[in-house]
Symmetry: C2
Subunit: 714 residues, 2 copies
């Protein structure tokens, strides 16, 4: 790729971004779009809905940028929880490391690369210069100047490790602070116990009670046994749906001004007839629900939520093996009540273990087989291949503009399209892995997505060029550095355009919320009702974090190979910072909080990127006839991994549980708080299965407490 | 090797064994040898020392075999602790699996192998038949009969896994039973805390007190801070040594009948002069000791033993992270008081971590570099090579007997000699790894020795034949099955003779205790005094267990390759069972007990052997033109590893700590025991550093409580 093609691509994408921003700043001011661009504020009733029209509403403005910029970390913590803070720290952390990288890369490495003559490129014609002349490939083989790259690698690694350390430390303190500041929450006093042993005399319910009364007499309060409720849940959903239709039909009888909409739907039959039919159906469903509820006692599963009088009491039961048989009385930290994922409680220890294995295999297969569409994309970037396969396209491809668009824009768009379907699949896989909380499912899906993205976008592109595919690499670790050193620099151009196209576009589409916008418009046109249940979305960490981390990986690995990528990456993180600050403020509201556990993924990913960079460096220096530098790089990955090991010991435990010091202090603070009695009264009901919550005495109550509405109200 | 050479070797070794046994049965009856062959019984005063001479003393007898055979597991548990039971279970477990293997191998596989014609050996001359005709190499390539081997592999794996499961289950129950049966012991109520944070106001001593009074008010009793005592220990040792010399010299002044021995030592100077000189030296040392003791307060290290009122209280402090910073207030289970390894307490968290790494590298280097002598040994087994290097030996080597002895006996003897020095080195390495107990050092040395033995005896022999050395294998995992399939069967003969020579000989030399016997005889001749401090040895698990497990590895891997090895292995385990039962009864006394933790090593080693066998099978079936069988074996190692993973989850936690159920039950049992008050009084002094124990008021007391004497008295 030549410089002018890159500049074309940058131009197109900057233009698109600007267009999106302008449109956004206008659209967000329209009252009808408030539910798309500020659902959170609407839900929190923080906005006055101005309906009068003025000209200002049609003019683009940059006020949102200012507000996003001014959002402080304290506000963020209050608004979006620790997970939100961690999410934004990814951007600030990346900005820090890539500022360091850009200073070294652009000031030192880029001129050194450019002054090389390995590729023998004509100096006079800058616009038509290949981008390779800015990369390490242009430095002469065996040149002493390569030692500059060598030093840069060491310096950059040290800088990143220091920043990683301070960030981990900062966030672990933040986590403890926010624990100290938190009000008493049910999940702090609750554990989940699974694998309750089968007993001839007692039911599981009695077993749990006996066991904890026996071994935790001073701290045990009560427990809730878990029951198999999937059928009841289904019935409840049905009933809620019928009831809502009924309610809507009845309200339409009273309000005449909306009947023209209903007339549109009225073609399906006589209204009164329909009403009585629906009411009969509702009665049948409710009868079934009653039968199902009476059967529930027999549907106990060997799992229960156990409540304790203190956080420390719960921690003791959590951390010490309870039963002699380690597969019985298995304890786990309870998730927040809203975070519980109910369907998977009924499975046994062995079954969950097999599910886990199955999911592992399935996600590995998905990751590897996804390869094929990527290969197609890859082939598009080589115009000559395209011309041979489709000879009739030759005349079109000859046009300079078309060829530039194809090489610069189309491939990553197709890739993007395929990638769009992966996060939901990964989330489904994670959910059958046996996790008990939605947040853990999301976190696991996030890791899976990260591996997926790295493999399918990075490695697939790098390896397909050198005709050596995945599995061979695993079986021949000796060749890894060489293969990477051949493959990675060759794809520099592809990844620079990837950052410019996919990276920038994904950010502006995040801001613009195109799909949500179209849905709202369609609903406004076709739907009769003013939809009362506003669903405030929560940020989809499982797709956003891997994407952001992938750009981090690109930046780190290409830092010394092709420093030209760095400014584009910096732009990505700058725009990303602003946009996501804005989105967290206006759009997303957290449903549950993992307490910043996502940072462990960020940390590991950064370490992985560093080690990958070192492996490439080992290969590159060997290829460039500088075997001494190649050997001297070897300690660097080892030291980086040791640093990681130290961080694991120093910080990871803080992210997995709280220490005695914290727990006891927190318990003592609240010892004499009169409000605690009320809290404990509520605690016992905190973990009732949503399917068991509706009482069927009055229908209004039923609808309001129906799980369907509840979940969308949150 | 031909059959007759093997029979020669078997004959020589059976003869040697019989000779050793006969000598043993005579020598053990001599009163002067009681301290060699029954030190344990002597120490426990269970033997009447008969001094009158009778003829029976000179006749060999088999009474010891009967007594060893009759020793029940209950007696063993009482005599030698759970570790002794686990040790003997290795033999019974091995006998079980190799009985199964022998039935399949000798009845089915051996005839199948013998009927093959791949090696084209003449059928008529059985004595000169190569041993290879009994191995899988003789089965024709692509023959359908190989499916018999395939089925045998599956059947054997299933059998071994079942036995492993029941053994693990049995031993974990045994461990819990023996915990229930145990009397209160200090280490059950004590934890070790390290990484006490530095505080400006408080000393470490005060910090510990404050911390545990704050966070464990109801269970904390007291603590003992650890001090840097290596210098004091040195001085105490010196003082004890001088004092003993003094005491001996003084006693010789009174007892005239021994003065002729003293005359022998008396050449060094005037007696009175010497006495006064020694006394002055003792005073100086004691002065230094006093100074050192007064300085001790300033030599605190950030570590302490903390005592609790209940086992459960100690477990709570042990299992829950104490400080917010996970590298501070690190808790560990305290070892038994006699099991504490004092020197390594003063090191910091980071230093210990670096030591661990260093030791890991050092033991890896030792394991790999030991290769060289093994290669020399290997070259000896090829007579032709020996003849080319040393042409003058040619005439001797031509003699049939010499050549048979060299191929059959010498190589493994040389190897054995080298191996003799490794366990002490491994133990030293383990001791600088930062373990706090002797038993853990021993266990870690045991693992190291196991890897060492496997690598240097098994892999070095297997790989040197195929000219491909260690590191290549690690870097090219794809080739592993092929290389093993080429190398392993080729060494079948070597390993059969290895079992017959090294295996059997090591057992009889264990029984005969040659070195100990020679030492006793020499001491009786040259030493004046009747040595009062009888040192009862404890069984050197770190060298015995790896050796035994290695024969297990050989049996498992060669089971389907060369079933001829199985009878010899069975003989090894039979003799071993009898001899070690006898030794545990008469010779060894346990110093400390790890509670059967060695079984985890046995389990892992057996799983490793199985997977190794599967890898070889994959390679062999591919080599033998039966690719389908090769593919169908692949699930077997995966399933075996899954089985191992299940066992890790099901049983391993039982071996690392005790559950709430156990702890609370045990605590309640003793709640009202009046003897517990006395126990807690003693508990506070249980973990005093031995260097701090002597009081210097009276010298007699000093000598008696000196650590040197104490440790040898145990």
């Amino acid at each position: 790729m030549i410089l002018s093609a890159l500049l074309t691509s940058v131009g197109i994408n900057l233009g698109l971004c600007f267009l999106f921003f302008t449109l956004y700043s206008i659209l967000r001011k329209q009252p009808s779009n408030l539910r798309v661009y500020a659902p959170r504020l609407v839900a929190e009733r923080k906005l006055k809905q101005k309906t009068e029209f003025n000209l200002e509403r049609l003019l683009p403005s940059a006020g949102w940028v200012k507000r996003a910029w001014e959002l402080s970390e304290e506000d963020l913590l209050e608004n979006s929880g620790l997970d939100g803070v961690v999410f934004m720290r990814i951007f600030t952390f990346s900005l820090k490391i890539f500022s360091v990288a850009a200073v070294i890369g652009i000031m030192i490495l880029l001129p050194v690369n450019f002054m090389g003559s390995q590729l023998e490129i004509d100096f006079s014609d800058l616009p038509n210069k290949s981008l390779d002349s800015f990369s390490i490939s242009n430095v002469n083989n065996g040149s002493k100047r390569l030692w500059i790259h060598f030093c840069a690698t060491y310096a950059f690694t040290v800088a990143v490790c220091c920043l990683l350390y301070y960030e981990y430390k900062y966030l672990s303190l933040k986590r403890i602070d926010s624990y100290y500041a938190s009000r008493p929450q049910p999940h702090q006093f609750t554990i989940l116990v699974r694998g309750i042993p089968v007993s001839a005399e007692h039911s599981w319910d009695e077993s749990v009670d006996n066991f904890f009364r026996e071994y935790h007499p001073s701290t045990y309060i009560s427990h809730t046994i878990i029951r198999r409720t999937s059928k009841l849940q289904q019935l409840t959903d049905d009933a809620a749906k019928i009831y809502r239709t009924l309610a809507r039909m009845k309200s339409q009888e009273h309000t005449s001004q909306r009947s023209r909409y209903y007339g549109f739907l009225g073609v399906f039959g006589n209204k009164a007839q329909q009403l009585s039919k629906l009411e009969r159906r509702l009665e049948v469903v409710e009868d079934n629900m009653r039968t199902e509820q009476s059967l529930l006692v027999g549907k106990e599963v060997p799992a229960a939520f156990v409540y304790f009088k203190s956080r420390y009491g719960a921690a003791i039961a959590l951390h010490i093996q309870q039963g002699i048989n380690p597969t019985e009385w298995v304890t786990e930290q309870a998730p927040e009540p809203d975070d519980v994922y109910w369907p998977f409680f009924s499975t046994s220890y062995l079954k969950r273990w097999i599910c886990k294995l199955g999911v592992f295999v399935a996600s590995a297969v998905l990751t590897v087989l996804f390869f094929l569409p990527v290969l197609v994309v890859q082939s598009l970037t080589h115009l000559e291949q395209l011309e041979t396969y489709f000879p009739f396209l030759r005349s079109i491809l000859k046009l300079a503009f078309v060829s530039q668009v194809i090489t610069g824009y189309l491939p990553s768009l197709i890739l993007q399209f395929f990638l769009y379907f992966i996060p939901p699949i990964m989330k489904i896989l994670s959910s059958i892995q046996g996790y008990i909380s939605m947040s853990e499912i999301q976190k696991s899906a996030c890791s899976k997505m990260l591996w997926f993205t790295m493999w399918n976008v990075f490695f697939a592109n790098v390896l397909s060029g050198s005709a050596l595919y995945g599995f061979d690499l695993i079986l021949e670790p000796k060749k890894v550095p060489m293969i990477l050193a051949q493959g990675v620099p060759a794809q520099a151009t592809f990844f620079i355009t990837y950052v410019v196209t996919t990276g920038w576009t994904s950010l502006s589409s995040e801001l613009f919320q195109l799909i949500s916008l179209i849905c709202t418009i369609l609903r406004r046109i076709f739907s009769a009702e003013e939809n009362d249940d506003l669903a405030v979305p929560s940020i989809p960490y499982e797709s956003e974090i891997p994407r952001i981390l992938f750009f981090g990986l690109l930046g780190i690995t290409y830092f010394f190979l092709s420093p030209l990528i760095l400014p584009f990456i910096l732009v990505y993180f700058c725009i990303g910072y602003l946009i996501f600050q804005n989105q967290l403020l206006n759009v997303y509201a957290p449903r549950y909080d993992s307490g910043g556990k996502y940072w462990t993924i960020v940390h590991n990913s950064t370490i992985f990127s560093l080690v990958l960079m070192h492996l490439i460096a080992i290969g590159i220096f060997a290829l460039k006839d500088l075997p001494l530098a190649s050997t001297l790089i070897v300690p660097l990955p080892a030291l980086t991994l040791l640093f990681n090991e130290y961080c694991r010991k120093r910080f990871l435990p803080i992210f997995s549980c709280y220490a005695t010091e914290c727990l006891v202090k927190k318990d003592r603070e609240e010892q004499n708080d009169p409000r605690m009695a009320e809290f404990f009264d509520k605690l016992v009901d905190a973990y009732r299965d949503p399917a068991l919550k509706p009482t069927l005495n009055g229908r209004d109550e039923n609808t309001h407490s129906s799980p369907l509405l509840r979940s969308s109200e949150i």
